[in-house]
């Protein structure tokens, strides 16, 4: 089986500083639900960033959807990112765009017609129970609502894989439940691979998952 993510001897770090992750190996199969956990500063977010090419590799190989991130050019990196759905802890919504337009972003980048973008955005906003706030701006919403918008944006273009960095870190119980349900549904109904970086794996999830644990720059697979 082809892995959607295949890391071998992965070493990542920033500038001339000591690497955060050294010589790590990791394999993630399609449709898997994966958690990456570890203490604060252990490099969880950096691993996720390396998957979508925001952090440069110092050594080793990292294949994502068949593309090696190590020597990837801008064109291929853009192409790869169009197949990914990314959810950030700080939401990263475009504040001068409406909620609806924010959800439309990956579809606009994908070159879909305006009518398709609007209908898909409205469908997803209905899904995250925010259709009534489609015309609002992100700063008019609560943190939980903003994260649900970010989740709708990540799902808008039916990505191959969703990468979520602490998606429920700052959320109340209700919003957290909505986010987990969306991720589970995406995997179950669309076959999306889910990679979540988190401090804490919810005990009520009720699904099989793969778990990687980071400590002292090493990635362990927890069985």
């Amino acid at each position: 089986m082809d892995h959607v993510i295949h890391a071998e001897g992965l070493t990542i770090g920033y500038g001339r500083d000591e690497p955060i992750i050294t010589n790590a190996n990791m394999k993630i199969n399609p449709h898997e639900f994966v958690f990456i956990t570890g203490k604060s500063g252990s490099g969880k977010s950096s691993v996720l960033k390396s998957i979508y090419g925001e952090v440069t590799l110092k050594n080793g190989d990292l294949h994502v959807c068949g593309l090696n991130i190590k020597n990837i050019n801008t064109g291929n990196l853009n192409l790869l990112r169009r197949y990914l759905g990314i959810v950030f802890q700080d939401y990263r919504l475009i504040n001068d765009w409406t909620v609806e337009k924010n959800v439309m972003l990956p579809l606009m980048i994908g070159g879909f017609s305006r009518s398709v973008c609007i209908s898909q955005a409205q469908k997803l906003l209905k899904h995250v129970k925010l259709l009534h706030k489609a015309d609002k701006y992100p700063l008019e919403l609560s943190g939980g609502e903003q994260q649900r918008v970010a989740m709708a944006r990540a799902l808008a273009h039916n990505p191959v894989m969703i990468l979520a960095d602490e998606p429920t870190g700052n959320l109340d119980e209700y919003s957290s439940e909505v986010i987990w349900d969306l991720l589970k549904n995406a995997r179950e109904h669309l076959g999306t691979t889910i990679v979540v970086v988190t401090h804490h794996i919810p005990s009520t999830l009720g699904i099989d998952y793969k778990h990687f644990f980071l400590e002292s720059g090493v990635i362990y697979e927890v069985s």
Binding site: Y52, E54, L77, N78, L79, L80, R81, R82, L84, I86, R92, L93, I94, N95, D96, W97, L105, P106, M108, I109
Partner: protein, 268 residues
């Protein structure tokens, strides 16, 4: 309000740039029109022992538009009362021929000297009067006027570039977060920068409209037209299609170049 301020910060340098560009071209047109009229009034007078064939003069001396004989009849008529008609006839035969040479373009002093030398070398004439002093004075004034307008244009261009560059950097900082988010979702370069380019195009259009309006109505102003008439110059009409098209093209080229430069620099 902030958006209006942002637009004005680009429109203002573009307006100044287009205004000076059009001003330089206008000066150029006025000067060449004036030079054309001077050419019509200016002529070199030559004295020839024999009759001159226009074609011969034209083929041997370049830049000659026409050769006209100056009749000696007026001078001889004046002498009619003082000397006998027999002597007048003798004088008529002895008098050399006078010609007025019109030139194709208004020449500079070197060209005038060249024509004079060629005329003397040709042995067709015995004397040449170029009215060099008057010619040089007028010519230098024209050249000075042209040079001033171009120095002014270059100076304005530098200031406009600096002002635009500063404003584009402000725009870019304002849009950086949005562009970064779009990058994370794989947006191509043109899509990320589209808003900046759109702003540049809109501002180019607006500044062209403002400058064109000014140049359409300025020559119609009574004071301006009186002043131009007193200087014996004609202000050319603003061609709404050609001139405005040229200004819009120049403005577009300039603003798009600055946007690309700033985006390219930031991407590095």
């Amino acid at each position: 309000m902030k958006s209006l301020k942002n637009h004005l910060s680009v429109i203002f340098p573009l307006f100044v740039l287009l205004f000076s560009l059009q001003f330089a071209f206008l000066t150029q047109k006025i000067v060449s029109d004036y030079a054309q009229r001077l050419t019509q009034d200016y002529s070199i007078i030559v004295v020839a022992p024999k009759s001159l064939e226009e074609e011969v003069v034209k083929s041997r001396i370049g830049g000659i538009k026409s050769v006209e004989e100056i009749s000696s009849k007026i001078v001889l008529d004046r002498l009619k009362g003082s000397i006998s008609s027999q002597n007048i006839s003798l004088l008529k035969l002895a008098l050399p021929k006078f010609y007025s040479l019109k030139l194709e373009v208004f020449p500079d002093s070197k060209e005038v000297e060249k024509i004079k030398d060629r005329l003397m070398e040709s042995k067709l004439v015995t004397r040449v009067e170029t009215f060099a002093k008057t010619h040089t004075k007028i010519y230098k004034m024209l050249v000075l006027l042209k040079s001033i307008s171009f120095v002014f244009l270059i100076f304005i261009l530098i200031i406009s570039v600096l002002l635009m560059f500063k404003q584009m950097r402000i725009w870019l900082l304002e849009h950086k977060e949005r562009m970064d988010i779009m990058t994370l979702f794989g947006a191509p370069f043109w899509m990320k920068s589209a808003l900046l380019y759109r702003l540049a195009i809109v501002d180019s259009f607006l500044s062209t409209v403002f400058v064109s309006t000014l140049y359409v109505f300025l020559p119609q102003n009574g004071e301006v037209s009186n002043f131009a008439a007193s200087l014996d110059i004609v202000i050319p009409k603003f061609d709404t299609l050609a001139d405005a098209g040229f200004l819009f093209g120049a403005s577009l080229l300039f603003s798009i170049f600055i946007v690309s430069l700033v985006i390219g620099k930031t991407n590095k």
